[in-house]
């Protein structure tokens, strides 16, 4: 295992080292000590390595991740795993606002709570939150799955496209054009797979599914006076 101590080396050096590890690397496991809430730790990774961050992180940890697994042992600041392409980011604590924003792929697991705008504009990423999520989560979410074992805040899925939202607890309110939908066998299968990948102790049957009513897709002439 390779160790990078952020009390000794700069963020730029840490990220250059990690970004240089491609598919053929034989240095596959890394740990980062003394993160002390720094921004942009382990961003832009491009190979199948495993990175463990021993502590809490600031903005944008694991952003743009491709193929790598990033494990944050503390809590994460705003924009964790933003625009992730593939791979996995796991947070043992809580995540601040817009976790997984605009993510294209991969799996984001938050073992604590996520705050507002979780999964905003997600485009294919899967997100599993063991706790609760805040308001305006999955706003304009396009595709992928958001799974929440706890409760969701106000305006869940506002202006949603085709992402699937699964919530086990209560939803404070649904956003514009977001509705509850029937849970079909294929959805239970997706949920079972994601819950298992995220080490989540819950049964698929306990969840409700929400999705787009598809009423905002096309311009409606009856709304012309609103503009």
């Amino acid at each position: 295992m390779q160790t990078l101590d952020m009390a000794e080396v700069t963020l730029r050096e840490v990220n250059s080292k990690l970004q240089a590890q491609k598919a053929s690397t034989n240095q596959q496991t890394w740990e980062i000590v003394n993160p002390r809430g720094s921004h942009a730790i382990a961003c832009g990774l491009d190979g199948p390595i495993e990175v463990t961050v021993l502590g809490s992180t600031g903005y944008y940890c694991g952003g743009m991740n491709k193929d790598a697994t990033v494990h944050i042992m503390g809590s994460a600041g705003p924009g964790v795993a933003e625009n992730m392409m593939s791979g996995k980011v796991v947070i043992e604590g809580d995540a601040s606002q817009y976790a997984g924003a605009t993510g294209n792929g991969g799996l984001l697991v938050i073992k604590g709570n996520a705050s507002s705008r979780c999964g905003i504009s997600m485009k294919g990423i899967d997100i599993v939150v063991h706790g609760n999520i805040g308001h305006m989560s999955a706003f304009m979410a396009q595709s992928g799955n958001l799974v929440v074992l706890g409760n969701a805040g106000d305006a869940l899925g506002d202006s949603l496209y085709e992402a699937r939202l699964f919530v086990r607890g209560e939803v404070k309110s649904l956003g514009a054009d977001c509705i509850e939908k029937e849970m079909r066998p294929e959805h239970l299968a997706i949920l079972a797979d994601l819950l298992s990948q995220a080490d989540a102790d819950a049964r698929p049957e306990e969840f409700r599914r929400y999705g787009s009513a598809r009423q905002l897709y096309n311009f409606n002439i009856d709304n012309a006076s609103a503009y």
Binding site: S56, P78, D94, S116, H135
Partner: protein, 298 residues
């Protein structure tokens, strides 16, 4: 952006370190707002004396013999402690009205930063490190304090545009965000007889809270009504004589982290600001909820 830090001590043995802990936290937040910085510190009470922290851009002339001039004009016994561009005047609270009136008349260029039994506010243009050094903040002790580092968006980079803003006796407010209805609200408050020093949006927020409290609300109630009347983005941290409060607007896009241990409650715009606090690894750390008033009292 802007950066906010705050520290409310429960363990009195930490009080001598308050200034140095707050300074360290504030310097960490420098890159959130490098144009001006300020700190409000709640120090020791001195009998029935009241403290007036004042500022001048010509301190040599304005503070020269100020204690004697004010004492002669009012009959009060006024003492002065000059710290760079600021000075702390202390006098009996029974003569507070006369002293303030004499100050306006005799030294009209002097600005009042704060008034109260405990609070002292120091703020200037410049980096947190430089501002803290100028006023020797690390040497100050106290029970609680709030710091702010500013990236100006709504008004000019001036000493008076820096935070904290005083919101009444022993009260202060700092702000990360921008209020969008500050002009209309300022006009309304002016009609109620409130005066303003700047075009700054946060000063309107501070004046709004003061006005609500003058009408009988306590700080918690004033903050609650602010959720309806203040439009825009804000994370506010407020200080009172014995308390410390946090509130975020309902959208809550301005960051905030709270940490609590048996020794203290700490606020930071980011977790980075808190990492040197004692016992932070075992503290309860959380993000305050939107549109929720948090308040601690001694």
């Amino acid at each position: 952006m802007c950066g906010i830090v705050g520290l409310f001590l429960k363990d009195r043995s930490l009080e001598p370190k308050l200034g140095s802990m707050l300074t360290d936290m504030l310097i960490t937040m420098s890159d959130r707002g490098p144009d001006s910085a300020g700190i409000a510190i709640y120090g020791a009470e001195d009998g029935d004396k009241v403290k007036l922290t004042v500022q001048s851009s010509h301190p040599t002339e304005d503070f020269n013999n100020l204690d004697n001039v004010l004492s002669q004009a009012t009959g009060a016994k006024v003492s002065i402690r000059i710290i760079d561009t600021h000075a702390v005047l202390e006098f009996s609270d029974k003569q507070a009205g006369e002293v303030r009136a004499a100050l306006v008349e005799l030294r009209p260029d002097i600005r009042v930063m704060s008034a109260g039994d405990l609070v002292e506010i120091y703020k200037e243009v410049g980096l947190p490190k430089d501002v803290a050094e100028r006023f020797n903040i690390p040497s100050m002790s106290g029970s609680h304090g709030i710091g702010h580092t500013r990236m100006a968006t709504e008004s000019a980079v001036t000493t008076m545009g820096a935070h904290p803003f005083s919101t009444g006796m022993d009260q202060c407010l700092v702000h990360n965000g921008s209020l969008s209805n500050h002009n209309s609200l300022r006009r309304k408050l002016r009609r109620e007889g409130i005066t303003f020093e700047t075009d700054n949006d946060t000063e309107v927020g501070a004046a709004y809270l003061t006005h609500k409290m003058q009408q009988g609300s306590n700080l918690g109630e004033a903050l609650e009504s602010g959720l309806d009347d203040l439009d825009g983005f804000y994370t506010f941290v407020v200080g009172t004589k014995d308390g410390f409060g946090v509130v975020r607007d309902p959208i809550a896009c301005k960051p905030a982290v709270l940490a609590e241990t048996d020794q203290y409650v700490a606020f930071g715009s980011e977790y980075r600001a808190l990492v040197n606090l004692p016992g932070i690894d075992n503290a309860r750390v959380w993000e305050p909820e939107p549109a929720t008033v948090y308040f601690w009292k001694h």
